[in-house]
Amino acid sequence: MLADLVLGAEMKFPFGPAPALMLALSLASGIWLGMQNRTVKKADLVFWTFSTTHYDAYMKALPKFQKQHPDKVIDVQLVSGTGLPQRLQAAFQAGLTADVPDVCEIEISNAGTFFRGPVDHVGFWDITDTLKSEGLDKRIIGARFTPYTYKGRIFGLPHDVHPVMLAYNREAFTKLGLKVENLTTWESFIAAGKKVRKPGARYITEFSDSGVDQLMTILLQKGGGLFDANGNVTFDNDIAVETLLWYVPLVADKQESQIASSLSSSFGQVMTQALEDEYFLTVVTPDWRSKQHETNVGKLSGKMGLMPLPTFPGNPRKTSTWGGTMLGITRKCADKQLAWDFAKFLYLNKEDLAERYSETYILPPVPDAWNEPAFDQAYAFYGGQRIGRDYATLALDVPPQYTSPFQDVAKGKFGQVLIAGVGHYTKSGPDGLRDFLKRELKSRADEVRKRIARNPF
């Protein structure tokens, strides 16, 4: 036996040979580990991002920053999109510092969940004064700070603007006699939608009758939102009522008024097939999605185009916004100056922004960077359209979007009203729809208010 060999036949280990062997192995491995050369220096700055595209771009830019800070070690880590906010939230809630990066990117739908309690207890560093002292609040589009602002203080640097356009199938448009210049108002768009509709086979656009992604872009385009700047619930105001009143008939299945439909997923192979089959002639497309179309729907190369959102009467806004990312510096970060320099390097360096735009098609929220030639590039997939310039033209008009820790709850409730409204419309038509929606919105908004009122902080 090995244990006998190690301990000698005369001196038996108290618990027998197996534990002796385990002990010997653990000691040996411990000694071996201890003898390893620890040449890797602990990182001075740990940065988490959840997006592969961002990660690739940052890794490409990193050597330049390292050159400026040769004595600093920057560790950029790609963390799962679902895992990142949960890990960070858990660490903040428990007051831990071990599993907290110095800098991290947070997706807009998760941002609000970090803004709870007293301002000085938020897990991120308050960058309001730093931004103002360096004049960056003027350099970045103001509306993009709103999702990352809590009680008047800014906790995140916006990564993007995400203006919204409609991606359309040029070939199908020509075949069906549709002209972009005739679809500048929602009224004309709906009329065209009714003409080209083939129930179960073709719809002019993708609007969901149960999810709120597209509905939210319309609500924002009309100047509404789920919350106001102070975190008060606003999705039962007149704008929300009017938006739903307009939207519900368009998506109510098998109704004369229907012009739009949806699949269970707006992404991936299913959407690719739907676009190729001309099931949807247009889709709501923020800048990030324009890249997805190019990657996923190769068959339609040269046949796609982008047009501004049609407008509502008395409201000239031709765009909205969908999605977003913020960069936050955590309170536990030991070298805030280094973190701030790194944040500015990633988010404000014009040359790098232009290069990153070429790779991601995501417009940075820094208008002075849009003068770079990259933003005038013509894209073959979009039939030679200079989509960067088109998005940039709309970007200054992107509406503000306020968040709250109760964002998901409010979104869910708003979706419930949509489903109830569609049900009501399918059963009773437009009769009494306004009152029904008003009542439902008020009731659901009050439920969210009750939840908010429970928070004593």
């Binding site: 005369e10 001196m11 038996k12 280990f13 108290p14 618990f15 679902t82 906010p85 949960q86 939230q89 858990a90 903040f92 809630q93 428990a94 007051g95 998760n110 969940t113 970090f114 709870r116 309690g117 007293p118 207890h121 897990g123 179960g200 969901s208 009758d209 149960s210 999810g211 439909s261 949806s262 699949l263 269970s264 997923s265 192979q269 299913v270 097939q273 739907a274 099931y279 820790p405 109760f406 998901d408 709850v409 869910g412 979706g415 419930q416 489903i419 109830a420 439920e447 939840r451 429970r454 928070n455 004593p456 902080f457």
Partner: protein, 301 residues
Amino acid sequence: MKPNGSYRVGGGAAPYIFVAPFILLFLVFSVYPIVQSLRLAFYATSGPQDWSPVGLRNFSFLLQDPDFHKAVTNTLTYTVATVLLQLPLSLGVALLLSQKWLKGQNLFRLIFFSPHLLGQVFVGVLFAVLFQPKYGLVNHAYAAMTMNPANITTKWLGDPATVMPALVLTSLWMYVGFNMIYFLAALQGVDQELHEAALVDGAGTLARFRAVTLPAIWPVCQFVLVTSTMGSLQLFELPYLLLGNTSGPDNAGLTIVMYLYQNGFSSGDLGYASAVGWTLAVGMLVISLAQLRLSGGMGKE
């Protein structure tokens, strides 16, 4: 040192030393979190610095919270539907696969059991694609079976009315074969002499199943009933992935554990999430005890 040369730990301490690592880990990773979560249930919190005692308010809010009611209704509906469908189906498949005349029994057993090997995450993603309107295989089969081409656009995961049937179907696909294994093992333990005696007495197939097979496998039925119920009440991953990290339209796929997760990690309301968790734990205990009592599993032979 003992005369034979081995060292011994005196005073009978050895057993304690052996169990000490478990006790230590159990205290740190089980007892402490359980106690802490019970404490949390009586507080409103916002990070480690903001704790405010709220007495029973977290629990009283549960009683008037429509989302919690929805989560409870969904979870119970799922539990009843899966248990009522899953157990007879599992037993039926096990009975079928234990027939001597059936060729390729092992292959069929593997086929029925294999969905469980995939895991809830994979199954969730897979069925999310299968249930797609227009392009999903389920709808193609549904339209063909009903001879109604319009059914191809059925939004299984987009319509509140069809989310639960879709969840139950997915769960059946995954778990029927898993529970079948328990029943197969139990069926192998049934005394064949009793079967032969019943046969000599002129008992038919159904009578033999009722009088011989069922009593013999009853403890396994109880076990499967309780574990299936517990598993169903703790449902989380399957709907979460099937519905694209959401609770589905009109919260049709919201389960109690999902609601706990949403409150704890999306809204950051750990106190309320703890109250949800403890309510679920107590509910599960009551349901399990009731099941065991009703099925005669509490000490009765």
